[in-house]
Amino acid sequence: MPKDFVLSVMSRDRPGIVAGLTEAVTELDGNIDAISQTVLQGYFTIILTVCFDESVEPAALMAAVKESAAPGELEVSVKEHRVLQPEPAMQDADRFVLTIHGADRKGIIRRVSSYLSSRNVNIEDLYAYVHDGQFLLIAQLQVPHRLAVEHLRTDMEALWPEEQMRVSLQHEDVFLATSHVDFRQRVPKAPRNGRPSR
């Protein structure tokens, strides 16, 4: 029987959901390895990986999590977790931060995600909202090294010939260097004449 699970939960948001489900996991003697949670337009959603010392019935885990809240409140999914190796293409990739904004209209996310998929670019993180008719998307992408970044950006801008969207694609290091005071670049330093070698 399995010992490692990936668990996802969706429900209307309220205080106490995380406390309840983590208590359920702890009572079964489980340990949470990784967790990501967000609230979107009043809906709570979470994904986490849990490992147990002893095997646990998936049904038992699901029941314990559901019972941590009111009956029928939580939609829960429990799957066995196998540690995944990253896909070969993704190992030779750099992270980029994509932002898209402009007037809201149907199909923005579909068009851009379909394009990215066609270029084998993986979306690791995605956040978008509409405010006052203006759409904003921010995503973290894994871009294979062989792709020309400027072409990606202009291709994406060209996805909306009818009315322009502004697309920005910044390498993660550029994003961090320009927005984080504490950013430190890790590059090897060349030997300097007159400086004792360590």
Binding site: V149, E150, Q170, A177, Q185, A190
Partner: protein
């Protein structure tokens, strides 16, 4: 919030010391120069292209800066210096960089015979090569102003312009005359590798003025009540980001080449492209007629804010690090000159609080050498007294008068030829020659 700024790196300039190429035989010297440049810079362009592609940040120019040629040649003749210029030109073409700076003499206190030979070799050297840039440091705060050198250089400027008359005197665009020349400036035509620099070093010129212009425009759109302090703050933050990108790319290039990283130069360096103009930044700030009263104050705010942001972003700042106001290379400045709003006198005033100096300014081809010398002497005085770098890059356009157009093309742009007032009015003064003594450095009023 990620800003959509189209950031770029203006220039990656590889400084290469040629001191170990010194040789009494000029042929051997030139061969050693070629070998060293190929060895150190052979992969510069390729590495820059790869890093640029990987980060999605364009690197606009790749250049070289070398040890002053006047220091390489023992007891050099004009012919020998010309051979060095040709060797530098060939090497630059071979490694694929667009310009190489370092045909340089440092004569602020006096000159050696070799330095005099270099200065006299400038007209031929710059008119018969493509990519070589020259500079002459004629003044410093510590030494004073060498008016003999200025008088000599003024004549070379005219001769160089005459030799390139079919291109509106363009040869003179490859020569700059300096006070307090920096040793690590990555921009041309003044780039050279100072004697205090390492054997091989990467120096960076950061992104262009368009980024700053858009930041100012954004501020005025989103906060119409913003005052000048808030405008300075916006420019400062933008400069922080721009500098961080420059350093990021620069350090990568240096690491890949296995050489030291030197400095980031914070200068706002325009090109004639629309949107890439320092003048347009001033317009965005609310100076609708560049050259009108208020222009100097606006440049002072801009220049200072750029430096403050850049200095926080990086601890390796150097070069010129001031806003450039090169007339023909800046669309909005050239337009202000055409309209008559921006005069030589106002440009000179602006150089007292920022910038490189009187830069890329076409003047009438029949301007006499004493007037050119006097123009240079004025600009050098500003630099020497104010303990800053100033320089002069003026182009006497053979056969053309004020109001006509000089066309240099490409990144060098074009402009109306500017009138020079009071021609010859200080001829006797400069003809005295000698040295204007070094200034007092206290009692500063």
């Amino acid at each position: 919030m990620v800003q959509e700024e189209n950031l770029d790196v203006r220039t990656v300039t590889l400084g290469i010391s040629l001191l170990d190429c010194c040789d009494p035989d000029i042929g051997r010297l030139c061969r050693k120069v070629a070998l060293k440049i190929t060895r150190k810079a052979g992969s510069l362009v390729r590495v820059c292209d790869e890093i640029s592609g990987r980060y999605g940040i364009p690197i606009v120019n790749k250049r070289l800066a070398v040890t002053p040629a006047s220091g390489l040649v023992a007891g050099g003749s004009e012919e020998a210096l010309f051979q060095v210029a040709r060797a530098l030109d060939r090497s630059a073409q071979e490694v694929g960089v667009d310009l190489v700076g370092g045909f340089t003499a440092l004569v602020q206190k006096g000159m050696t015979p070799t330095e005099e030979a270099l200065i006299r070799a400038i007209p031929r050297s710059l008119s018969e090569t493509e990519r070589v840039c020259a500079s002459v440091n004629v003044a410093s705060t510590a030494a004073g102003i060498n008016v003999d050198a200025i008088n000599l250089v003024a004549r070379q400027i005219l001769e160089l312009a005459r030799r390139t008359a079919d291109h509106d005197g363009f040869g003179a665009a490859k020569l700059m005359v300096f006070a307090n020349i920096p040793e690590d400036n990555p921009f041309m035509s003044g780039a050279y590798l100072g004697y205090g620099e390492p054997d091989c070093v990467v120096n960076i010129g950061v992104s262009g003025p368009g980024v700053v212009k858009r930041a100012v425009e954004r501020l005025r759109e989103q906060e119409p009540d913003a005052d000048l302090g808030e405008m300075a703050d916006q420019i400062k933050r933008t400069s922080f980001r721009v500098t961080r990108v420059g350093e990021l790319i620069g350090r990568e290039v240096a690491a890949r080449l296995g050489v030291e990283f030197g400095i980031v130069d914070l200068s706002l360096a325009p090109t004639p492209r629309v949107g890439d103009s320092v003048g347009e930044v001033l317009e965005a700030m609310g100076v609708s007629r560049i050259g009108a009263p208020g222009s100097t104050a606006a440049v002072a705010l801009l220049n200072d804010a750029v430096k403050k942001g850049g200095l926080f972003a990086s601890s390796s700042v150097g070069g010129l690090s001031g806003a450039f106001v090169p007339v023909s290379e800046d669309r909005a400045l050239a337009e202000a000159v055409r309209r008559g709003d921006l005069t030589l006198e106002k440009l000179e005033a602006i150089t007292s609080i920022c910038s490189v100096g009187l830069d890329m300014i076409p003047i009438p081809g029949d301007t006499d050498p004493e007037t050119i010398a006097a123009l240079i002497a004025d600009e050098m005085s500003i630099g020497v007294i104010n303990r800053k770098t100033t320089s002069v890059r003026i182009i006497p356009v053979p056969g053309k008068a004020a109001g006509e157009t000089a066309v240099f093309g490409g990144l060098f742009g074009q402009s109306i030829i500017m009138p020079v007032r009071g021609v010859g009015g200080a001829a006797e003064f400069v003809r005295h020659g000698g040295r204007i003594p070094a200034p007092l450095q206290s009692l500063n009023n």
